[in-house]
């Protein structure tokens, strides 16, 4: 059965795109067919992790939202760019990186209902097992709609006070929308913090399951988005932690 998973954080810079790209890769390595939609229209970035340069992007999500193409025509098969010999598939629907196109969508807005239709078209036409939605941070209409149709919401936060406050807003909204499954991933944890205490505190605060605790990682930062971390460092503790997230999602 296919699943739609929204990956969200209230504040920016929590590592959504990196986490999304790695989860997609790990799932495809297990033979799954995975789609990713970059709905972070204001500052798209996930395409870079899959090695897509500006000129490699044909149709984008923007084109679909303007009725210029079907969503399938905006899907880029990036599987072989990640690593040769991956048994599954990774399709990316990127957002445009062109200033004028970004400005137009921001200015004119778009039909969020169309976006949701696009999600179900993708699941069906590309026979996806998982569809990951890399959302724009904060709570806005588009985010609400993608949360509302998600089977799983993965909320990413850093352990600081501003993220705590904002995340509680996201969690409240998710509960009201009746998202079937809520999972928390704590990222960029300063190395001096005690992981067990922190995990308990977050589970108590949000009454949701913490599926991964990921400390600040020098290797990940130094990789500078040149490559997918899980491919470059298959045996790293961070990769192992992300594999657990996939297991939970598929369970």
């Amino acid at each position: 059965m296919s699943k739609i998973i929204s990956i969200h954080s209230f504040r920016g810079g929590t590592g959504k795109s990196n986490t999304t790209a790695n989860l997609a890769t790990l799932a495809a390595m297990q033979g799954l067919r995975v789609g990713i939609v970059d709905t972070d229209i204001q500052s798209p970035g996930i395409h870079v992790l899959f090695g897509l340069e500006t000129d490699d992007i044909g149709n984008s999500l923007n084109d679909y939202l303007w009725g210029k193409c079907t969503i399938k025509e905006a899907a880029h098969d990036v599987t072989s760019r990640v690593s040769p010999g991956i048994p599954g598939k990774i399709y990316l629907i990127p957002s445009s990186i062109k200033a004028g196109e970004i400005a137009r969508v921001i200015h004119e807005g778009y039909d969020a209902g169309l976006l949701n239709e696009g999600f179900s078209d993708l699941l069906e036409e590309l026979k996806l097992d998982l569809l990951l939605i890399d959302t724009h941070p904060g709570i806005n209409e588009e985010t609400l709609l993608s949360l509302a149709i998600s089977d799983i919401l993965l909320v990413i936060m850093r352990p600081d006070k501003q993220d705590f406050q904002g995340t509680s807003v996201t969690v409240d909204v998710a509960l009201k929308l009746g998202v079937p499954s809520l999972m928390m991933l704590v990222n960029k944890i300063p190395l001096q913090l005690d992981l067990n205490n922190l995990k308990q505190e977050i589970e108590r605060t949000f009454n949701a399951e913490v599926v991964a605790m990921i400390p600040h990682c020098d290797e990940l930062m130094s990789l500078a988005s040149e490559d997918i971390f899980a491919v470059r460092y298959p045996d790293h503790a961070v990769t192992a932690e992300l594999k657990k997230v996939i297991q939970k999602m598929l369970a």
Binding site: G12, G13, T54, I102, I106, G138, I139
Partner: protein, 256 residues
């Protein structure tokens, strides 16, 4: 009009607010009258950074944009407050125009787009009211109306990026927009540079890549991270290497 310096970045979480806050403090410590405006309505943080919760802040820039107050009603001279909390002396003056951190109100502001002319008049009125030597604008990341406005009115645009490919593409777009808008001075700040990278290499690579001056290269550090609040190093530890770098960086832009 005073000199206007805008801090912007394509991606989020590059350290804009933190560097804008510290730069404002550095300039005030040098005797300047500084206005600091939080234009990051989607994710404001400056009131929080300067520990103003619990203080009386009846109006914010959101209220001004909704025409519920004048801009000077939303401007707070926080110099004394900073001197008290951080046990320090500031020879100049720092006036903050905070944005709303009430999350529910934010969506209101963002959804019902306000008139950008209001913002422009606001900056003019603010300049008349507080007579600053310098206005520093903290923007929302990415390409959006507020940010393009901030770019268009700035004399100096400081664009933050991390040495990461996800930042590079978008930064090139911002640099293009800045050129199109003919921003008089543009500098790049490369932030969160992993310690294993050579700063000189990073500077060379970024300058060559963007054909644009690199104003500063700042190594990754957790020194700005605090458990309760972000640490304002310019107040807490004015001789910290990052603060010295910022002080050197800003000096050519603020000299008359």
């Amino acid at each position: 009009m005073p000199k206007i310096i805008a801090f912007h970045s394509f991606r989020r979480s590059t350290g804009k607010s933190s560097l804008a806050a510290n730069t404002a403090v550095i300039c005030a410590q040098q005797g300047m009258r500084v206005g600091l405006v939080d234009l990051n309505l989607e994710s404001p943080s400056l009131a929080y950074t300067f520990q103003l919760e619990g203080q009386s802040i009846p109006y914010r820039i959101n209220d001004f944009l909704w025409q519920n107050c004048t801009i000077d009603q939303a401007a707070y001279d926080i110099t004394k407050h900073l001197e008290t909390i951080w046990h320090t002396n500031i020879s100049g003056r720092l006036t903050l125009v905070p944005a709303n951190t009430q999350y529910s109100d934010n969506s209101h502001t963002l959804k019902d787009a306000y008139d950008i002319k209001t913002l422009n008049e606001g900056l003019l009125d603010l300049s008349l009211a507080i007579q600053p030597d310098l206005l520093i604008l903290d923007t929302h990341a990415g390409i959006n109306d507020d940010a393009v406005f901030a770019l268009a009115v700035s004399d100096v645009l400081l664009i933050l990026l991390r040495p990461d490919r996800q930042d590079y593409q978008g930064t090139a777009v911002i640099v293009d927009i800045a050129r199109g808008l003919e921003v008089p001075q543009v500098g790049l700040i490369v932030n969160d540079v992993p310690n294993r990278f050579d700063p000189a290499d990073v500077q060379r690579e970024v300058e060559a890549g963007f054909g644009c001056n690199v104003a500063a290269v700042i190594p990754f550090s957790t020194d700005m991270v605090g458990m309760e609040h972000p640490r304002v190093l310019a107040l807490e530890d004015p001789q910290h290497p990052i603060i010295n770098t910022l002080r050197e960086m800003i000096s050519p832009y603020i000299s008359l």
